[in-house]
């Protein structure tokens, strides 16, 4: 211990290293904490600082990291390392040039960013994304606490738009990596393409047998049950797609539907555990939700945004799916796919880039939900979470201003 202490002290003194004081200072602070004391009242302060605050988030993310290593192999670790190194370099460079301390916010950016990437992302793309996100999303505004946009998402958005070929094609199936890795579409994409291809959906419209297009998208388990119980002969030889667990299996098989004709797209259990393709950290939803709840209990994140966000998506999907089943996926499926859980728990809740007023938080969450459903359902991008969060980041100062305008009436002097 003493050796490290004296080494640090010597480094502080070394004239050649004066420029790099931020690095030494950061190492020192992490290793030893501070010896500064309060000046004036209050003489005693709370035992929380930004380091501890941020390490809560890291702690909450760790299960998701472990899950992604399990699912997608050790390449995940390489990606995380690249992200930390490239982004850390930018952070350190700015700290040296602008002569300020190295701030802890990067620890989170550097971890969240790789978690929202597809597992097959080339390492150089990871580096480009994290460098762009840290620089344009954060450092240009002055660093942690001063940024307007979530830096990890800015980086992710940039590479999504810049390299569409790389970013939207390769989705690796979990548990198979290396040479025999299989790539497939993400659940949301699959739903969209299947729904678009199937012209009929007996859930809402009168079913007319279409010889040319013998497939039906049953969007929920109960729909399968409802439409096949009557012994409807119209389903003979029709290929049926179903999202989630078809309930009729338990109730007894329907004679007219052979097993070959029933394609179970996804089971909700698999989606919850994360056995479907997706970004590295966002597939295992169960640990994400647990991490998010841990953060809320520890008062690091506020429950208002995630609850209103996920709630809005649920309600909108519930209503929307009744009327536009080809565009809007069913609610539970929406909640368990894409980056919704991850985004709502870890990115929308970032206090720096979300409104600080209570009403603003609800407004932020609800708008994020609306935008997510809109973008998922009606645009060329299936993954709406990152877009909606960055858009709402942009609206955050305006929301706060409007809320404050209503909260405080101007005072006449």
């Amino acid at each position: 211990m003493k050796a490290i202490r004296s080494l640090l002290d010597r480094l502080y003194e070394a004239p050649a290293l004066q420029r790099y004081k931020p690095i030494i200072g950061a190492a020192d602070a992490i290793l030893y904490g501070t010896d500064e004391t309060t000046r004036g009242a209050p003489h005693v302060v709370d035992n929380i600082d930004i380091k501890r605050y941020m390490s809560f988030v890291i702690l909450a993310l760790l299960p998701a990291v472990l899950a992604s290593v399990c699912f997608f192999g050790f390449r995940v670790i390489a990606i995380i390392m690249v992200s930390y190194m490239a982004g850390g370099a930018v952070e350190v460079a700015f700290a040296i040039i602008r002569k300020h301390d190295i701030h802890e916010g990067f620890l989170i950016t550097g971890l969240i960013f790789p978690l929202v990437l597809p597992p097959t992302t080339p390492l150089w793309v990871v580096a480009v994304g994290v460098v762009f996100g840290t620089m344009f999303g954060k450092e240009m505004f002055g660093g942690t606490g001063r940024n307007i946009f979530n830096p990890a998402l800015v980086g992710r958005l940039f590479i999504t738009i810049a390299f569409p070929a790389i970013m939207t094609m390769n989705w690796q199936k979990p548990f198979v990596s290396g040479p025999e890795a299989i790539t497939s579409a993400t659940p949301l994409t699959t739903y969209k393409s299947t729904a678009k291809a199937s012209k009929v959906n007996p859930d809402v419209v009168e079913f007319e047998k279409d010889e040319a297009n013998k497939q039906v998208l049953f969007t929920s388990a109960s729909a399968v049950k409802r439409c096949t119980q009557n012994g409807d002969s119209r389903f003979d030889g029709v290929k049926i797609y179903c999202v989630g667990e078809p309930a009729y299996n338990k109730a007894g098989k329907h004679k007219r539907i052979e097993d070959d004709n029933l394609v179970r797209l996804f089971s909700y259990g698999d989606l919850l555990v994360g056995k479907e393709p997706g970004s590295m950290g966002e597939t295992c939803r169960i640990v994400i939700v647990l991490g998010g709840i841990f953060l809320m209990l520890a008062r690091v994140s506020n429950w208002r945004i995630p609850v209103s966000y996920i709630g809005t998506v649920f309600v909108l999907a519930l209503v929307g799916h009744r009327f536009l089943p080809h565009d809007i996926a069913p609610p539970v499926f929406q909640m368990l796919t894409g980056g919704l859980m991850f985004g709502a728990m870890f990115m929308a809740t970032d206090p720096i880039t979300s409104p600080f007023t209570k009403a603003g938080k609800y407004c932020f969450g609800i708008s994020c939900g609306v935008l997510t459903v809109l973008i998922r359902s009606f645009t060329g991008y299936v993954e709406g979470v990152m877009f909606s969060i960055v858009i709402m980041n942009a609206f955050t100062p305006l929301i706060d201003q409007i809320v404050l305008m209503f909260k405080y009436r101007p005072v006449k002097t």
């Binding site: 001063r146 009606f378 645009t379 060329g380 609206f395 100062p397």
Partner: protein, 195 residues
């Protein structure tokens, strides 16, 4: 009707005149320091853009095209815009002095705001009908308002919390902010089309 709504939404989100066509940047840079000014300017822009488009469409289709003098429509449009702005200012001064006090300072600046001319030129290039022109003009101006209000609010926040590098202060950081917003707005791509 659906078409009108489509164009309106497209003009605000997918084909935002500031974030996609990069127009109206000069007032964007100079007037986005406070939401109050930005709001005044954008209300004035909404008014003038819609009004001039409403005047320019009949002039182009009923006078210039039949007389075969399509070529000089730039000159005609810019004169109409300048005259309209002048007229509006005089009317406001005469009949609505409070309004003039609030928005008056922004009016002369509008003449050089490229959104106004651009909307009139785009309506010609895209061959909109009169109704579509009005919807498009109004939607574009609202889209511009949206963009400048967001950036103004961000700028106000940055004035309190930001620590922008010296060289980036002012126009530089506004470009970066607008860039990130434009990046995010690309997410609406494919939702609706302007045509």
């Amino acid at each position: 009707m659906t078409h009108a709504i489509t164009i309106f939404i497209a003009a605000i989100l997918t084909h935002n005149i500031a974030l996609t066509y990069l127009l109206g940047m000069c007032p964007f840079v100079s007037l986005s320091r406070s939401t109050r000014t930005a709001f005044g300017m954008s209300v004035a822009v909404i008014f003038v853009v819609t009004l001039t488009a409403a005047i320019n469409w009949p002039i182009y289709h009923l006078i210039l095209v039949p007389t075969g003098s399509k070529l000089i429509y730039y000159i005609v449009f810019i004169i109409v815009i300048a005259a309209t702005v002048q007229l509006v200012e005089m009317i406001m001064e005469r009949f609505f002095p409070p309004l003039q006090a609030a928005f008056g300072i922004f009016l002369p600046l509008i003449t050089v705001n490229c959104t106004v001319l651009a909307v009139s030129v785009l309506m010609v290039l895209r061959k909109y009908s009169y109704g579509m022109t009005l919807v498009f003009a109004f939607g574009s101006a609202v889209g511009w308002m949206l963009a400048i209000m967001i950036v103004a609010a961000i700028n106000e926040k940055l004035a309190l919390v930001g620590n922008v590098p010296k060289g980036l202060k002012g126009a530089g950081i506004i470009m970066i902010i607008a860039g990130i917003i434009a990046l995010a707005f690309l997410g609406f791509g494919g939702m609706v089309d302007i045509k």
